[in-house]
Amino acid sequence: MSHKVIVPIGPYHPLQEEPEFFKLYVEGERVVDIDIVIGYMHRGIEELSEHKHFDQVTFLVERICGICSNSHPFAYVNAVEDLAKIEVPERALYIRTILAELERLHSHLLWLGLAGHFIGYNTVWMWSWRYREPVLDMFEMIAGNRNHYAMMKIGGVRRDIKDEDVPILKKVLDDLVPAVRMFQGAVMDDPVIKARLKGIGILTKKQALDWCVVGPTARASGINIDVRRDEPYGAYDRVDWNVIIEKDGDIFAKTIVRILEMYESIRIIRQCLDKMPKGQIDADVKDIPPGEGIGRVEAPRGECFHYVRSDGTNRPIRHKIRAPSYMNVASNKIAAVGGTISDAAITLAAVDPCYCCTERLTVIHKDTDKRIMNGWDLIKLSQEKTEKLKKDLGGG
């Protein structure tokens, strides 16, 4: 007799930046359906934004997310600059780009650590977060804060990068390259990681197109999109870099895309530091005319989209915000179904929604016993699978 069980994962976990609630419908080991419930973090920011003036909104949208706290204000100022047709000083464009790429570095390292933890590689977790620290220190050096940098401003940036900080920044990047190489080797050469990630949680190209996913999730499925190249903002059209594409659409491909993107980020920052011209960092914007504008930014998780409409007053009358996870999380309906429950944690995490909401996991047998599992049980299940694989492969 088949036993249909509902495994609710979520909604809250201290590691998440966006609480989500995944209801997994399971038959034995296999996930047969999934229901995604979001809204736990809905703070009415779009509505709030209509009650703040244009400069305040920059700080408001910074608080949408603690990890992409540069991407949202960046997309927002792009939108307002599109609306009012503002020319941003050259130096400010370079500073914005450097910040955006530093953010990608710290975000990808964060994800890599979590992914390692989920599959039972706690060494990857610790090491990856250890190398994330110097990146955060760079933010502190430039902006004064490790998160919520408050650097964006309509028409420019709020702080300059000091000349004496440039060599320190370069040194950190130099130290990061061997670390990324180490992670690349660890992931690509390890047979156990391969066994855990290859062919798991596949999103085919066709499915990725239908669900309109963005960022590394789309690029791992062979879709050649990247806002940084497709509609260059900041200084991306002034530097040389590559868009990373993989074909398989599985978790392994998503991991590779993120790891290789870190090299590109380092390349972009180095070039920006060398090419950055001297001069103004602020266009000194006075009024925002009536009209509408769209700004987008390639955040670490994909395209971040802001639409702003102004009626000529000092407040936007409509501000639509779409974070990349809005599209990516929905695609879990495809990626997780058909997989096993021990792969669920890593599959749901692979789109990088900062999903780790296993804290309040409960397993309820529909007809028979009720029992409660805590979040660790799911991670343990995943880690045990890795241990077993390690034994089977005769390694350690």
């Binding site: 979001i38 809204g39 809905h42 009415g44 779009e46 509505e47 599109d82 047709k85 197109l209 239908d210 669900w211 309109c212 050649n224 999109i225 806002v227 497709d230 509609e231 260059p232 009209g291 509408e292 504008g293 769209i294 987008r296 395209e303 989209f305 639409y307 409409r309 009358i317 409509r318 639509k320 779409r322 809005y326 599209m327 929905a330």
Partner: protein, 144 residues
């Protein structure tokens, strides 16, 4: 042929108004009844990517903008529809054409009270269960 000309040609009989804010930002107004056909052409035939939709309460009615991105050239084409009937606003759902519209239609439904006809799973996405029925946070009549 540039994608903009192609869109103009394919949607010629549906376009009410066209506004080019910049070469990469095109806003096209169409009638609500043409929406499903027009989006079908953009998404299925011209292979534009659906980015998101944004709804707004305006004095003339409820407006929805459907933003599409053409990634080869980085253009954003926004289809604008105006639903004049604020009492019982309705429009056809796009979720049957592409599943990516499922969530945003649920969101617009709960925030602005627009009913999406033919949506497979029209239930709340962001608002809490306890939120009162018939109160729409993004409608301007709620404001003091």
């Amino acid at each position: 042929m540039p994608i903009i000309d192609e869109i103009n040609e394919r949607l010629a009989d549906k376009i009410i108004n066209r506004y080019e804010h910049s070469p990469k930002r095109i806003y096209i107004s169409i009638k609500p009844r043409d929406l499903k056909e027009a989006t079908g052409i953009l998404f299925k035939e011209l292979k534009l990517r659906f980015v998101i939709a944004s709804g707004q309460d305006t004095p003339a009615g409820l407006e929805i903008l459907y933003h599409f991105s053409f990634d080869q050239t980085g253009e954003i084409v926004s289809l604008r529809v105006l639903i004049e009937d604020k009492k019982k606003p309705e429009i056809e759902s796009l979720a049957p054409i592409f599943p990516a519209a499922e969530w945003i239609e649920r969101e617009i439904w709960e925030m602005l009270g627009i009913n999406f006809v033919g949506h497979p799973n029209l239930k709340r996405l962001l608002l809490a269960e306890e939120w009162p029925e018939g109160k729409f946070p993004l409608r301007h009549e709620n404001e003091p």
